[in-house]
Symmetry: C2
Subunit: 413 residues, 2 copies
Amino acid sequence: MDAVTHHRNRSDRGRSALGPALQLVHTGRAPTRAVLTAELGVTRATAGAVAAELQALGLITVDSRPTGSSDGSQGRPSHRLGVEPDGPVVLAAQVHADGFRAALVGLGGTVVATAPGCGDVGADPGQVLREVVDAGAELLRRTGRRCVGAGLAVPSAVAEPEGTALNPLHVAWPPGAPVREVFSACLADAGVTGPAPGSVAVGYAANDVNLGALAEHRHGAGRGARHLLCVATGHRGVGGALVLGGRLHTGSSGLALEVGHLTVDPQGRPCHCGSRGCLDVETDPLAFLEAAGRDAGPEVSLLDQARDLLRTCYPGDFAVRAAAHRLIDRLGQGLASLVNILNPDRVILGGLHRELLRADEERLRAVVADRSLWGRSGEVPVLACTLDHNSLVGAAEMAWQPVLDDPLLLAEV
Amino acid sequence: MDAVTHHRNRSDRGRSALGPALQLVHTGRAPTRAVLTAELGVTRATAGAVAAELQALGLITVDSRPTGSSDGSQGRPSHRLGVEPDGPVVLAAQVHADGFRAALVGLGGTVVATAPGCGDVGADPGQVLREVVDAGAELLRRTGRRCVGAGLAVPSAVAEPEGTALNPLHVAWPPGAPVREVFSACLADAGVTGPAPGSVAVGYAANDVNLGALAEHRHGAGRGARHLLCVATGHRGVGGALVLGGRLHTGSSGLALEVGHLTVDPQGRPCHCGSRGCLDVETDPLAFLEAAGRDAGPEVSLLDQARDLLRTCYPGDFAVRAAAHRLIDRLGQGLASLVNILNPDRVILGGLHRELLRADEERLRAVVADRSLWGRSGEVPVLACTLDHNSLVGAAEMAWQPVLDDPLLLAEV
DNA sequence: TGGCTTTGTGCTCACGATAAACAAATGAAA
DNA sequence: TTTCATTTGTTTATCGTGAGCACAAAGCCA
């Protein structure tokens, strides 16, 4: 009853290099055991032991006989490392304006199976989350894979540590809905398992743009960035996210990067927040449609309408071109403000913002460079996101995180 | 020639708990050995060994017989830990609009000796830095203390890793001046020593507001904050800083928190950046003086003029009150934007902004709360900075950092 | 075939931290 | 005062992790 009180403060479990090693393989930064050795900064013996243990846990593959190995260099070829394709998976879920999506995602961001569900999302979070969790559980049953966690992406800021959706604008949920709690309850009801054998999964929930940023950082356009800023607009409003040192920066209560009310046009349109010219009302799909003089129809999502309009009519149609330029300028102003505040080494755009970037990269980059201190002293890389369902993959990343931090969780009694 | 290549990647030197322990004592979070044991999460034996080693290095004091110890609790009283008052010091330097300041600072943020120097700062960084370093070296000679590093605070963003002053607005330096290089050269010329015995100090240089934030976080109003945002205005323009997890967030190239061009008033005054209503031109001392209808005289600094005016005429004089309210509202808008982006758990204001906070706390807090998402769902603590020379102390913190990370540097051959 | 180069593996060893028993220093109760 | 409970410091034995080193293995290249 004496020393026992001490050694529980920090995670005493686990070889210390096990987690970092798994992350390196997971993100593809350790294709061979030799690279793993160098990246970890340990001896070959240690790296070998670590790789063997991860292999024994069923998380990675170690290919000792790389058939047709001819990477040019001489010397003994190194064992190739990879993610175990038949290893455990996590349940990734996403709720968006047009329904939900459930998927099983393995290490390396591999989407193993997907189950989309369409239709309106009602006012009761419990109902949708039950549907999406059940869909995920069905996937688990069908594939017979071991599940080691679950993550949920929602179109709202999620307050920490409460786990409540503060501003679920695109869905009819009540503000403050306890999404994480409800998600966890659904997981327990469906019998979804967590990292430790026989345990029940705890539900992780976070904002979809944040999770998209996390996914892009690990498997997409953000790989290798130390300070990654993501900005995206899906349906209404604008979301932002920041990844610092491989981790999401969610602020002290989960509400960081709520960038929608940055002023980007002093003479702009009035916003419900009381100000005018906010990023939210100046650069979202509705703003684009209205600036182009088009009416927003209810049949397809605003993002799809705006994207189609931009793709089909962009350089030619005068109104569309003017609208695009208007949004690009406003977006550039907002990005410049964010760059001045956060000084990221990379910026990634999603949703309609990605389309705007593709429409005129030069113009957007010029605005950002012109309006930011760093832009004037160097170049700020502004890129399009590359993953198809980055929010979903990000939800999976969040669910994988405990295992990535301590792979031995999988072997615990 | 094989394994030798490995074990230099990470700092293999040193008991791993030595640095964290010193930081705990340094920041006052470990007043006794028992608390140190708990904070480190190690056994009493380990904590004892660590404390003894730090004492042997001459960094801390371990008082085994606390005279008049009556902290109420029963049980054997714990040894009191403290910073060694006669231990090593660092050379802290600051350049500002009205001259420079040099000081010797010990652990715990204790200013041991100070040497101010007044007058205009010329266009040659080398000249001022030589003067300030010489003044610091003179202090070292007079006191006979061991010097283990040197840090410099400048009124400009400092680009990393170049160490150049990008926008030295308050001094006549050319933009891009290589301050760190020049500072290091002056230190070498003056024979200022570094952490390792016999070594020459390398110069660290950073923005003054950033360093002030670091100092407030460790020894001032920011103690215990996990995500600390500081905003301050000294002479012209506004500076910001963010401390995350005990470390300054300087962004990928040192230019984070350049908050001066946030739009805080769409109908505001034009700014040289091309926009209008920027935080820089709306909330700095000159803005206040002009809003109050006063002419800025050249005799004393703008900050002093504005502060005096606010302190003497605030609630009574109508023009002054209106001007203060105008600035408070603009500042609140800017803080709200930053709170939405960074979601800090504490905000600290310096310079004239501190005076504005003191003039009407309620008004400022109300604006921040009303305009920020987090403010509406909770309360954002907005506080005044408490340290007298926080930039100077912050420069010392920066210089101490290598030792705080690895105290054994002091004992190296 | 025999260098050369690079990587994997099997040992020993050093060292940091734990665990556990014991000693010391206080307050509270008898 | 004596005794006990409580809390902390100290000592010793022990263990686990990773380093260091020697050697084997597996490819290039001549």
